[in-house]
Amino acid sequence: MSRIMPLDASTIETMDDREIEGYFREAHRTDTPPPHWLSLLALQPGGLKAWARFWWATFRGGVVDHALKELLRVHIARLLRCEH
């Protein structure tokens, strides 16, 4: 069980923050990042925006082929899972 529980869905929706809503809708559309990760970060909205702006700039944006970055993402995740 997660040591920190996400902010509940209704609270996030009533934030009335279009930027945050946009991150969630895009996460639902593509499954990346996991929407639950965003719900967790929503506990600190400034932290959510900080992370999401970084992520959207470097993972979704940029000039490197997106499929290659996805390959790196999956490979790194697997490397760390192998440690435990």
Partner: protein, 304 residues
């Protein structure tokens, strides 16, 4: 989810043994770099960077490097929260699951979202920068962030490296501003945690940067149980993230709210990645150790 990004299950499985599988040299170079940065950054030598440089330009290298640095260290933080169970068990209701439109525009909900697009923020659909063609992306310029980041004590060499990629520079600088400079936690506390992590990873330039900031904010007063818990958490994530056990987390919860723990974790994860990457680039007063060993020329100075 990876399939939606152009990867097949076969390629995902094959990447585990990518050196012996049918991957392009370009893909192998990037995988080799990301793997070494994640597993042991101290062994990320000039040969790996040289190989990366044969297939990618500096802008692409900065983008791959900063993305990989977060990915490797952010996952350590996620594990310390045991947050993976949230999306594997999928029991917690999520917001915005309805099919309604985004920003009042039904079509926009079907298009890639870009937080940098001001027109999209205003509730009108607009062509996304993310969806733009390669030339449009290549022509993007950073928006006056280097001076701001440097003013906050960021080593100029780090900004110089990031400046090769507008996306890496903007993304990292925005993260640093919101999480370190403007977050809900005391800057002094975060600076002390940052200084300790930099010391553990051997990054003198980052250690001095954060120590100076912590001193300005009153470092001498560090030592309360709350501050000790934060320092211990930062140390565990840096040296052995699996050591963040229930006892340590209970201690953290005695002193920090959930929003504060989120911010602390984000800061610790990003700075760990930043320090490790900085070390491989030779950022600091002693020059590039990698360059000394191999004759490799750091991308920090390329094009200067």
């Amino acid at each position: 989810m990876a399939r939606q990004h152009g990867l097949t299950e076969e390629r995902i499985a094959a990447s585990e043994d990518f050196e012996n599988q049918d991957f392009a040299d370009r893909e192998k170079a990037a995988l080799r770099f990301a793997e070494q940065l994640t597993v042991d950054y101290r062994k990320l030598n000039g040969e790996i960077y040289e190989n990366l440089g044969r297939h990618f330009d500096l802008r692409e290298i900065a983008e791959i490097a900063v993305f990989s640095a977060w990915q490797g260290n952010g996952l350590r933080v996620i594990h310390s929260w045991k947050a993976e169970t949230l999306w594997t068990e999928n029991r917690v209701p999520l917001p915005f699951t309805d099919e309604s439109s985004i920003f009042g525009n039904p079509q926009a909900a079907k298009e890639p979202f870009d937080p940098r697009d001001p027109k999209r923020q205003m509730g009108r659909a607009a062509p996304s920068l993310v969806a733009g063609d390669a030339e449009q992306k290549r022509n993007r310029q950073p928006r006056g962030l280097p001076a701001q980041a440097t003013d906050r004590g960021t080593p100029p060499e780090w900004i110089s490296f990031l400046s090769h990629s507008p996306e890496a520079l903007e993304g990292w600088s925005e993260f640093f501003r919101l999480v370190f400079a403007e977050g809900i936690l005391d800057v002094r506390l975060k600076a002390a945690v940052g200084a300790q992590m930099a010391r553990l990873l051997g990054s003198e330039v980052w250690f001095e940067s954060f120590r100076e900031r912590a001193g300005r904010e009153g470092l001498d007063e560090i030592g309360s149980p709350r501050e000790s818990a934060a320092l211990r958490y930062g140390e565990c994530i840096t040296t052995d993230y699996l050591a963040v056990d229930d006892e340590l987390f209970e201690e953290l919860r005695r002193h920090f709210t959930d929003p504060e723990l989120i911010e602390l974790g984000l800061f610790v994860g990003m700075m760990n990645g930043t320090f490790r990457l900085s070390q491989t680039l030779g950022i600091g007063g002693k020059g590039s150790q990698v360059a000394k060993m191999t004759g490799w020329r750091s991308p920090l100075n390329a094009g200067a």
